[in-house]
Symmetry: D3
């Protein structure tokens, strides 16, 4: 059961309206690698998780992402300013349809869809998706940080980057705990599970990668039937 406190997890300080940046920041509000994706993914995975420690972890991080979403909503609202004054149309959909509020859309105004949520009911596959989700989120936040000018917004993004790193580490440790479970059972124990099939030919292929050097993993020509 969730409860809500009327405080924020981190200060949301915005110097003044900047609708153009609001239209970019919304990428992490409703985009594929954003906070709505993160909180729905972890909270959904938590429901079916049989490992109580990992369930607890998913609930803690999922709840934190919900709080990140709240921080971004507030920041975007402040960056949009009053759409009846700042009618300079740098964020048309957020101004016209959102009326100056954050929408669950990405920086192109695409609606968020549950197609962004990775939750397949296998603890190892889920945790790998979660590590990936945190690192993707960090990558996008770094690009936003690079473009941000307002010091309060820059500081908020910096906080969020750090938290994505913290979460990534936690999910990596959780993976260690369950590394032989679920899809990792009976992993790599058949012939085809260890072959490198070489489908692409030409220049960049000349120096084989380290993965090609493993015993039993010599590149082979694809069979043909």
């Amino acid at each position: 059961m969730f409860r809500h406190e009327k405080n924020f997890l981190y200060p949301v300080k915005v110097s003044g309206p900047d609708p153009a940046f609001a239209a970019m920041l919304v990428e992490q509000h409703g985009g594929p690698n954003g906070e709505l994706s993160a909180c729905t993914q972890y909270l959904n995975q938590a429901v079916g998780c049989k490992d109580q420690m990992i369930k607890d972890l998913l609930l803690d991080i999922g709840t934190e992402e919900l709080n990140h979403l709240e921080l971004l909503s507030e920041a975007i609202k402040l960056l949009l300013g009053d759409p009846t004054i700042n009618s300079i149309n740098q964020a048309p959909t957020l101004e016209l349809a959102g009326g100056g509020g954050a929408m669950y859309v990405n920086s192109s105004g695409n609606n968020w869809t549950a197609g962004f949520v990775s939750s397949v009911g296998d603890v190892v596959a889920n945790l790998h998706s979660d590590v990936a989700a945190e690192l993707k989120a960090k990558a996008v936040y770094q690009r936003l940080h690079q473009r941000a000018i307002d010091p309060g917004v820059k500081d908020l993004i910096d906080f969020l980057i750090s938290r994505e790193e913290a979460h990534a580490q936690l999910f990596m440790r959780a993976l260690e705990k369950v590394q032989n479970q679920g899809v990792m059972q009976d992993f790599g124990d058949k012939l085809y599970a260890n072959q490198y099939l070489d489908f692409s030919t030409g220049e960049t292929n000349q120096t084989p990668g380290v993965w090609n050097m493993q015993p039993g993993n010599i590149p082979v020509a694809p069979p043909s039937h």
Copy 2:
């Protein structure tokens, strides 16, 4: 800021697996009139709400809907049972892709989309959408209640129906408080704002509706330019 307690708002009691009903109940988990729609809509509206009382109301009800979502997630998981045992394929996507967990999809397996969220930054328009959302949710829950057999599930749906009613009433009262604000300003003060244009002809049109009886609202033939 949200916090999470590891208790439920209401008991989730399921007698045994019933994947076919799980596949129906998911309509209110990730369908257009379901709990994910409700909580994201109210929490989003709250961010930009300038009326502090209504902001509080939106946060209270938005948080409760998040808790309803949690109840449904748990119920659906229990109804699906273990997909490695109950492989009778009455809920194929929930079994194959969800691995036995609730997904953010409707009863046809469609992904939830933020296109379901009504939040246009106007307090009156938003509250009307919220009343509608609660009544639509009630309508769908009633159809699920009619089809439910498991007594625990039936009781849970009954609780949720009552809560939708409570929320609908609260939103109606909130509307009374703001009835002349926002889009209701300069409402109906022009000629075209009071005309009934009669575009459809034939049998069902013969008895004019009560709305046609208002002064200034006599059906007129549509103009043509």
Copy 3:
């Protein structure tokens, strides 16, 4: 059965191309609160409506919205101008993919989806959605009106705002006629249907809203199971 006349419901006068405004106006052509949403919603609700007066109302207004859609299509085409001349790329998708015609997209170029249509087969829930739809449409049109410069376009939007008001009033009167039907039956007759559950704590909560003052509706702490 529909018939088409080669006249418009209202004059469509555009002084000259303004692709940037075309890209905004398309919000009401194919956006969630736009004319395609309105006409499909009302015409769909009409099919199953058992109240003949309200069915007539839905057909009249649904047909009118279809005519609004036609007006916007024409206005957007004129505002886009000839994409082979005005290749200044202020409305890229409408120019490249639409070839200078209105598409069923919102101001971010998102495709319209039937997920925007509220029609749940209950006359009261439907009519509340319809009131909300008209008010949301008015809110968006007002923001467009504020940004419009071309006098003919401004006048057209003014007409459309008035018509949304007329429709909102008509739907409100229709609601009065059916106020105890459908989902309003057995409404609020259980304990949980009248409780105010207080999930959010902190500053904005200090002055309780009017809705909290009703007998039987004293805020209670959420139960926990």
Copy 4:
């Protein structure tokens, strides 16, 4: 400008509820090749069409497809029956969310999207899409006709198949009128515009097709850069 008459273009006679067939017939109501796609496509193309004869044709056929949509809506409603009685769940989303009415979805319950509409502002490309649309619609209707049992429904589908044929013929004739316009200008006047690049090798390639026999169209190996 559209007007509506409260009669149908063709009789809608349904012997009794058959929700399972309703769930299939909805494919042509809100599926990619269905009536909503057809009417929105033709009416949208009409707006920008500079050839007045073809504009007239698009308006006539677009309006007819709107009437086909109305016929299907009525038929589906009758086939669904009363969802409070026929709660046998053969059409779950139409029953739960639609309340017994036709939704703008396909036979899998997917929402219709404007991504189904082909309208690129070129009269020749558009008309080819329209011929294709009619033939695809016929193909799907034929499969529905094969599965239909109710004589009234079977007769209605038969009528709709005939009309798709009529429309396909009309669009083909319209194409003859404009065959050298738009994208057909400067067509095939360069080297690469007449080469057959042979990318796929193996068994089925041994007998060259008739298209390979044209002068200047001898299959050549793809270049490589």
Copy 5:
């Protein structure tokens, strides 16, 4: 079975970054009329095609479109430049979420969807869709060609236009081969299959089109039931 060579079908030469043009060119990468649509459509149709010559054609052209997609991916990447340097935000989503790579989106940043694929399992209907697809693609490429400045990009688009023309011709010839098959069987052999129903009245209708002049095709008033 596909194999990949590390060469391109055509040279991809880009003088320097131009993110604004990248954001337009992506229309043909992930837009409805673009290369991902084309290759998935033809390869999908090939699977079920019983005519071995046409199956071969679909595989050849489908594979070529896959190669066009690769050319566009490379060109868009080069046009975007390094998003850590060119942070001028002319292509926000491609920079923020794509990190400087082509995404499967259109020029408004909308995700590609399989709703763009026309493949209904009927050889004639499919081939008409394919002719339409090529002509629509040409129309969009022409508008991009008109807006392109970089000579290498302009030349690449010119090549792609020529290839769309080549494919359009090939599909037209393939249609000749199968013209009486599939949906064309029992085509136009009933009364309703040859009537022109005149639903739209008014000015543009005064000069009847050539299609109205055919015997048996005299415009008739729509029936009414």
Copy 6:
């Protein structure tokens, strides 16, 4: 540049039609964790990859997934049988709209969308997504394997599971090569990047997880602003 050979990577043997299983197997054809997702993801990532070895790996595996897609397309077509004979409607959309061919949809008939593709232009974040993609695919294939009866189909799925394992291993090794690049730079070097914020309280939280035991990672109460 891709070329196509008219042989398969693996034998596709199907004993006879089984439309119900076809409707499940399509989950890996056009579902989020399926082969279209995999091939588009890896081929897209390859374009911008600056590490030539990893680029080669992505091209090899991306091309193989394209071949897996082809195997599934063929298998699904054979499982569907002839929709004019097997009109038993166990796979309605595949029969009605697909005409007996595999569509790019999941087991609920949802269209594939590019929202399923994870490619953010960072080599480490991308490779983590790729490991996750392979493990998720394996999880879904295992559930299909469990439900498959036809020995040829079961054998094909077994092959595909092995290949997902091979790919997962290869991506894991590739990750080792680049482990300190991209988003992993400046990773975990700030205070907030190492804190465990404890947002959820109650029963399952009592035994702290191993991740809580790290120095500097003691659970702390979330701050509040």
